[in-house]
């Protein structure tokens, strides 16, 4: 039985990304949740499921939000879990555990002074600790090691990564809520300081405060709400967790191929049917790995593929039209999923993809996920 178009997103709420001192993850989540409810004019009593992410505890959040849902879950505060949480919500609705689920994400990383390297580096459940005596730490450095190898195997260049950063920055300039407001050039990227070489500062995502909420329900119920439903047309998950404290040999190609097969089959679409992409861009090389893994180009050809504006509005595959993690804010995939919904509703103003009908979200990580959204049944 296919889950194609069985569940739809009816409400979206976000905060502008930036610094929001005095708000913890619960507060931030509640703000987005209220906005998502206003967006679809739903009453809290109509929501019978709750999934929170990065917000530490579902019990406390539900207490603050005044809810007693029939289905409640917290997922780990890792970006790869955004797509996964959306899939769990769709599956739970299809299974009848709930009919309408609020997904609420709150991130106070900036105000909390979160660091993704050093003694507090808990990547892979703390599996990276043994490398600290050699100065190895941070997801950014792990991606630098991966990209160095990609350069070696396929001749990919830092200038090709710059094309990604420039594309997403152009989009951020069209998004009033995005953190980054200044245009950049390829040369600006090349001149920006190295953090973990070969990666420059402009290859890194932006740690900020912010929140996102999505409300999903059955396709049947979705038609009763004011805005056009955005259907969850296909999705999939796979993993590469064995030895995942070290970089994968294949840039997660194998699990991405699995997810691609599953997701495109469920959605019944091909690459060329897609009007836009939302690509998890914690670091710019991830975009290259993702485009290869999902078959937009052959393995090793991701570098040339992203050049010449292909990912920009007006290009073949406009991507991360909100500015992405690189130039909007690191909302761990959630803002990209919200952007997909808004694009398909035609709500994106200056950054609107014309006549967008199908958009795919993808996340390359030890746990790979993808969701394809569509306007039509």
């Amino acid at each position: 039985m296919s889950l194609r178009n069985r569940v739809a997103v009816i409400g979206v709420g976000t905060t502008a990304a930036g610094t929001m001192p005095g708000h913890d993850a619960y507060d931030l989540g509640l703000i987005a949740f209220k906005r998502a409810m206003e967006d679809c004019r739903i009453k809290r009593t109509q929501i019978d499921g709750l999934i929170v992410n990065r917000i530490p505890d579902y019990q406390r959040f539900a207490e603050i939000a005044g809810m007693d849902p029939h289905f409640a879950l917290v997922t780990p505060g890792q970006g790869r879990m955004s797509g996964n949480s959306i899939e769990i919500a769709a599956s739970a609705i299809e299974a009848g555990l709930a009919h309408t689920i609020a997904l609420v994400y709150g991130n106070n990383g900036k105000s909390a002074g979160d660091q993704y390297g050093g003694e507090g580096d808990r990547y892979g459940g703390g599996g990276v600790g043994p490398w600290f005596p050699y100065g190895m730490t941070s997801p950014g450095a792990a991606h630098a090691v991966m990209f160095q190898r990609h350069m070696h195997l396929y001749g990919t260049t830092s200038r090709q990564l710059a094309a990604i950063s420039v594309a997403f920055r152009k989009h951020a300039l069209l998004n009033p809520d995005a953190v980054m407001k200044k245009p950049i050039t390829i040369q600006d990227h090349q001149n920006s300081k190295f953090i973990a070489e070969p990666l420059h500062l402009l290859d890194y995502c932006l740690i900020n405060d912010g929140s996102v909420a999505l409300i999903v329900t059955t396709a049947e119920r979705a038609r009763d709400f004011p805005k056009p439903p955005v259907y969850i047309r296909g999705f999939g998950t796979s993993t590469k967790l064995v030895n995942s404290s070290l970089p994968p040999d294949d840039f997660w190609y194998a699990p991405m191929q699995h997810v691609a097969r599953q997701t495109y089959a469920m959605a019944g679409v091909k690459h060329d049917d897609l009007d836009g992409l939302m690509i998890y861009d914690n670091f710019s090389p991830t975009v290259v790995f993702t485009l290869e893994g999902f078959g937009f180009c052959r393995q090793g050809e991701g570098g040339p593929f992203v050049e010449n504006g292909r990912l920009e509005l007006g290009g073949d595959f406009p991507s991360n039209t909100d500015g992405g993690h690189l130039s909007n804010s690191y909302m761990q995939g959630w803002a990209l999923n919200a952007e997909a919904v808004r694009q398909l509703r035609g709500e994106c103003g200056a950054r609107q993809i014309k006549d967008a009908k199908l958009i795919q979200y993808m996340c390359a990580a030890p746990l790979v996920t993808s969701v394809i959204y569509g306007t039509d049944l």
Partner: protein
């Protein structure tokens, strides 16, 4: 008197102690499953390949190649501040196990993926000897 050592030190426990004792003795030791023979590192209780708990420590050749590497321009650990920029390499040992470490005596512009390297040992405190790698010519 030497300046105090300020870089992160390993958490040595009963499980990983043979590795650190090996370093002190000038041998690079990794775990090897007694049942299926699969080598592994860092130390773990269970063999991820066959889930056996039976394990021994094997002295490796200490030889391998640079699988990839990066250069830190930011000190996430205070003790590394004076080393910036410093390289970290992921070494693939000939026994098939990968290990992050540092390269000694190889200028950064000469580091190459596939470069042959061999272990050398560097005593940094009374209790801790690190394993680093130099070019194996």
């Amino acid at each position: 008197m030497n300046a105090p050592y300020t870089k992160p030190l390993p958490a040595i426990d009963d499980r990983n102690r043979p590795h650190w004792a090996g370093n002190a003795a000038g041998e690079l030791r990794v775990q090897r499953c007694d049942d299926c023979g699969t080598p592994r590192f860092p130390a773990s209780r269970w063999c991820p390949h066959c889930l056996s708990e039976n394990t021994s420590w094997q002295t490796t050749s200490g030889k391998g190649q640079v699988w990839s590497w990066c250069v830190f321009h930011r000190a996430y650990f205070k003790g590394f501040t004076d080393d910036l920029p410093y390289a970290v390499a992921l070494i693939e040992l000939d026994e098939g196990v990968k290990i992050y470490s540092n390269l000694v005596g190889i200028p950064r512009e000469q580091i190459r993926i596939g470069m042959r390297v061999r272990a050398r040992f560097e005593k940094v405190t009374e209790a801790v000897t690190l394993v680093k790698f130099e070019e194996d010519k």
